[in-house]
Amino acid sequence: MLLRHTTAKEIDRKALTINPAKTCQPVGAMYAALGIHGCLPHSHGSQGCCSYHRSALSRHFREPIMAGTSSFSEGSSVFGGSANLVSAIDTMFTVYNPEVIAVHTTCLSETIGDDLVQIVSKANEDGLIPQGKQVIYCNTPSYVGTHITGYSNQVAAMVKFFSTATPKKRNVINLVAGWMEPSDMGEIKRLASVMEARTIMFPDMTGVLDTPLDGHYKMYPDGGTTIADLKLTGDSKFTLGFGPMSTEDACIKLENKCKVKFEMLDIPIGFKATDRFLMSLSRHANLPIPDSLSDERGRLIDLISDSAKYLYGKRVALWGDPDTLVPLTEFLVSLDMKPVYIVTGTPSKYFEERMPEILKDIPEAKFMNGELADMFRMHQWIKQEGVDLLIGNTYGKYIARDENTPFVRFGFPIADRPGHNYFAKVGYNGGANLVKQILDAFLDHIDRTCLEEKVEFQL
C-alpha cells in the first residue's frame, strides 16, 4: 500500500500538485537536441538541473547522455550568467569538439533575465565559435508549460537556425518528429522508405539513443539529423509534423521562413492514425502505398480480430503527453476498449479539442489536462471506480500494485523496464506490438489470479 494516502473522495485542491504527470521544459530541450548529429546540449543554469536531466534521460534510455552546464553560482545569479555561458562555450568547443552546441535556459537564468541572443553573439565576436561550428539556443523557462514545451521550443530552434530556402526545390518530404522513442522514429522512417519516399527526419534520435555496444564509447554517436540535412529542410516540398504539441511551432516557422507548406498529423499510434499518415505521405510525395504495407495493416487487424473478445469493454486509465495520448486513446477505442480516465500535466488545446470527439461514445470517460491533472487525481478516480488496465510511464507502478491492475508501460519516463527504445509502438507493426503487450498484461494477470479450476491450457 505505497499510496495508502489516496482516498476515493476527491479533495478540492487550490494550489498543490501531487505526483506530477509532467516535468519541466529543459529536459525536453535536452532530449530534442540529442537528435542533431554531433550536438552537445547545454543547460544554462545551476549544476543540478543538468545533472537531473541527464540522469532522467539516462535512466529512461540506458544510454550515456552528455550535456554541459553553466554551473551557476551565487555570483552569476546576481550579476547574470553571461560570463559563465561565454566561458562554457569556449570550454566545450575546445575540449569536447561538438558540431553544434544547443543552449537552453532554466528557470533561474530566465528569471534573472539573461539574454541569449546577446551572449551568444558576444561569444561569436570574441572568436570562441570555431569556423563551421554553431551555437543555437532556445528559451525554456521551467515555470511555463512542461517538458513537451521545451521539446517544441528546441525543435523550432532547429528551423530558426538551420532551415534555408534556396531557389532549388527538392522532391523531399520533411518529417518533424514529435516526442517519441527512437524506435518509433525508426519505424516512421522505415514506412517512408518502403514507400520509396525521400525524406528528412528531424530531430532524429535513432542511432543516438539506441546505439550498439561494440566496446567503443562515442561521445557523438553516428545518428542524428546532420546540419546539412537541417539546412536542406528549407528546400523540401512539404512537411509532415507528428504531434502538434511538440512540432506545430516548428512547422509554422518553417512555412513562414522557407514557404514549405505542412500538414499536422497525429503520431501514428494505431491503424487509423497510421492510415492517415501513409495516405498523407502518398498524396504529398505522389507515391502509391505498396502492397507490403497493406499486408502489415492486415496482420494487425488479424491480431485484433483474433483477440477481440479479450479487449471488448475493458476499462483503461492512461496518462502521459497529449501528442501520444490522443492517438493512443483513438486506438484503444477502435480496439473496442474503454479509455475512461486520461490525464496529462501538459496544458493542451489539441487534447481538449480531440478527446471529446474520440470519446463521444464513452460517456463515463473523464479526461483532464494542465495544472492539477496529476497522478494523485488519476488514482482518486480509480479508487472511485476501478479499471482493467493502466497504460503510462513508470509512475503508474504504485497504482498498479496497490490496485492489483495490469499495467503496460508507455511514455516517458520508463525507468524500470528496457526495450522501449528498440521496439516501436507506431505504425502497423508497432500497433501489433502494443496489442500484444496489452493482451500479455491481461492474460498473465488472469492466469495468475483466476481460480485454480479455471486455469486452462488454451484461451
Binding site: 498543490l16 552546464t69 553553466s70 551565487e74 545569479s77 575540449v95 533561474l108 555496444l213 566496446g215
Partner: protein, 444 residues
C-alpha cells in the same frame, strides 16, 4: 594526460608518482560535463528518508519530478516521503510571488496527512523572486503546532555538498526540541546511513546483538520524534561523513555529544565500526559480544569470499562515487576479493580524504576529484579497468566501453553494507565482471 582540461590538472593526481595534493572543493568549470549536482539535490537526498515528515518542494515542477521516489530508502512504517508534493510555480507566480500558493499548499497537506514535521524546500527561482518562506513556515508552525522547517536550498548557492550542510541545519532545528521519557545510557545515533535496500536494518541487528541501543537513525528510516530526541544519545556514529559531519559537529558544540567516523562497507571497516563503539562505552561485555559477532560472521563469510577472490584476482576496478570516504571503503573491500582499484574518484571529497586514498592505493592509481565522462573513459582505457563502480550517469558509458558495472549509489537493489552486504557486493562484482556478454562486444 592531454585529455584533462588545463584548469582541472590540479584535481587529478597519481598515487606514488606525483606529490601533488588534490585541489578539491572547487566549483566545476563552466561547460564541463560535470557529474555533480546542486544544493537542492544535496539537501533533498539527505532529508528524503525521514519517512513521517512532509516534504514539499516550492518551485517549478522539475525539481519535484526528478526527486520523486529517487532513492531506495526503505521505510518500516510510513511512506509519506515517497510521494511528490510541489507548488508547481507558474509564470504568474514568478511575477507576483508564490507565497499564497505555498501557504495554501502546506495547510492542505498538513490537514490531509497529519505529518510529524514539514520540510519546505526552496529552489533556485524562489531564491531569486524572494518569497519569504521563513515567515510562512513560522506562521504555519504556529497554526498547526508541528515543526515547519524551511530548507533554504537554491541550487546556485553551491554544489551538492553545500546542500548536505543545509540539510544538517534543518535536522538540527529538530534536535533537542523534545525528550522521550527514557533513553538508555548506552545509546547511539546512527548518522549518514540512508537505509538503501534495507542496509540500516542490518546495522540495527548488529548493534542489538552487542547490546547497544540505537536512539535515532538520521536519516535512514528516520522518524521525527527520534530526531527530536537525538540529543539524549551518548554518541553519534557517523557514516557518509560528507553529508553528516556538520550535524555531528553542531551536536557536539551544543549538546556535547562526541562522534566517531565509521564505514559499514567491507569486513575490516564494518568490524572496526562495531569495536569502536564498544571501546567508546568502555564495556568489556559489549566488546566481547562484538568480538563474538565478528568471529561468527567472519567464519561464515571467508570461505564464500575465498571462492570469489580465486576467480576475481587480477581484475581491475575504477571507482567514481559521491563521497570519498565510501571510495576508501570500496578500495579495501575490493582488495578482499582480489580486485585492484586503478582509478579512485569522488564528486565531493576533501583534501584529507584524497591523501588517505593516495596512501591506501597501489602506485600508479589515478585519483581524481569532480571528474567528467570524457576524462573517466580515457582513464579507464589507460588503466585497462574491467569494472566500473559508480552511479546512474556512469553506468551506460561503462557498458558501452565493455566494462562491468556495479551501482554503489541510490540504485543499489541489494544491501551492500555489513557482512552480508560484503557477500552481495562480491556477488555483484563477480556477476558483472565475469558476464559472458563481454566476450561478444567485438564483432567476430
Amino acid at each position: 594526460m592531454a585529455h584533462i582540461l588545463d584548469e582541472r590538472q590540479k584535481q587529478v593526481s597519481v598515487a606514488g608518482l606525483n606529490e601533488r595534493t588534490i585541489d578539491c572543493n572547487k566549483a566545476s568549470l563552466a561547460g564541463s560535463v560535470s557529474q555533480r549536482a546542486c544544493v537542492f539535490c544535496g539537501s533533498r537526498v539527505v532529508l528524503y528518508p525521514i519517512v513521517d515528515a512532509l516534504h514539499l518542494i516550492h518551485g517549478p515542477i522539475g525539481c519535484a519530478a526528478y526527486t520523486w521516489d529517487i532513492r531506495g530508502s526503505l521505510s518500516s512504517g510510513p511512506e509519506l516521503h515517497r510521494l511528490s508534493f510541489c507548488t508547481d510555480l507558474q509564470e504568474r507566480d514568478v511575477i507576483f510571488g508564490g507565497e499564497n500558493k505555498l501557504y495554501a499548499s502546506i495547510i492542505e497537506l498538513i490537514d490531509k496527512h497529519q505529518p510529524k514535521a514539514a520540510f519546505i524546500y526552496t529552489t533556485c527561482i524562489v531564491g531569486v523572486i524572494g518569497d519569504d518562506v521563513e515567515s510562512i513556515c513560522r506562521r504555519v508552525e504556529k497554526e498547526k503546532s508541528i515543526p515547519v522547517i524551511p530548507v533554504q536550498a537554491p541550487g546556485f548557492q553551491g554544489s551538492k555538498k553545500d546542500g548536505y550542510k543545509v540539510a544538517c541545519e534543518s535536522i538540527f532545528k529538530l534536535v533537542g526540541t523534545k525528550s522521550k521519557p527514557y533513553t538508555p545510557a548506552k545509546s547511539i545515533n546512527i548518522l549518514g546511513d540512508f537505509n538503501l535496500a534495507g542496509e540500516l536494518w542490518i546495522l540495527l541487528e548488529y548493534y542489538k546483538r552487542m547490546g547497544v541501543h540505537v536512539n535515532a537513525t538520521i536519516t535512514g528510516d528516520g522518524r521525527v520524534d527520534d530526531i527530536c530526541n537525538a540529543h539524549n544519545a551518548a554518541l553519534n556514529v557517523v557514516q557518509c561523513s560528507g553529508s553528516m559531519n556538520y550535524l555531528a559537529k553542531m551536536m557536539k558544540d551544543e549538546y556535547n555529544i562526541p562522534s566517531m567516523r565509521v564505514s559499514y562497507f567491507g569486513i575490516e571497516d564494518m568490524s572496526d565500526a562495531l569495536y569502536d563503539v564498544a571501546r567508546f562505552f568502555n564495556d568489556e561485555d559489549m566488546m566481547e559480544k562484538a568480538r563474538q559477532l565478528v568471529k561468527e560472521e567472519f567464519v561464515r563469510l571467508m570461505p564464500q569470499l575465498a571462492w570469489y577472490k580465486e576467480r576475481l584476482t587480477g581484475k581491475k576496478a575504477a571507482i567514481y562515487v559521491g563521497g570519498a570516504f565510501k571510495a576508501i571503503s570500496l578500495v579495501k573491500a575490493l582488495r578482499l576479493i582480489g580486485v585492484q582499484s586503478v582509478i579512485v574518484g569522488s564528486q565531493t571529497g576533501t583534501t584529507e580524504d584524497y591523501e588517505l586514498i593516495k596512501q591506501l592505493c597501489d602506485e600508479g592509481t589515478i585519483i581524481v576529484d569532480d571528474s567528467n565522462p570524457v576524462e573517466l573513459s580515457h582513464f579507464v582505457k589507460e588503466k585497462k579497468a574491467d569494472i566500473f563502480i559508480g552511479g546512474v550517469k556512469e553506468r551506460p558509458i561503462a557498458h558501452k566501453i565493455g566494462l562491468g558495472f556495479c551501482d554503489h549509489n541510490h540504485e543499489r537493489k541489494e544491501p551492500l553494507a555489513g557482512y552480508e552486504g560484503m557477500i552481495n557486493f562480491a556477488k555483484e562484482i563477480y556477476a558483472t565482471a565475469m558476464s559472458p556478454v563481454w566476450k561478444f562486444t567485438k564483432n567476430p
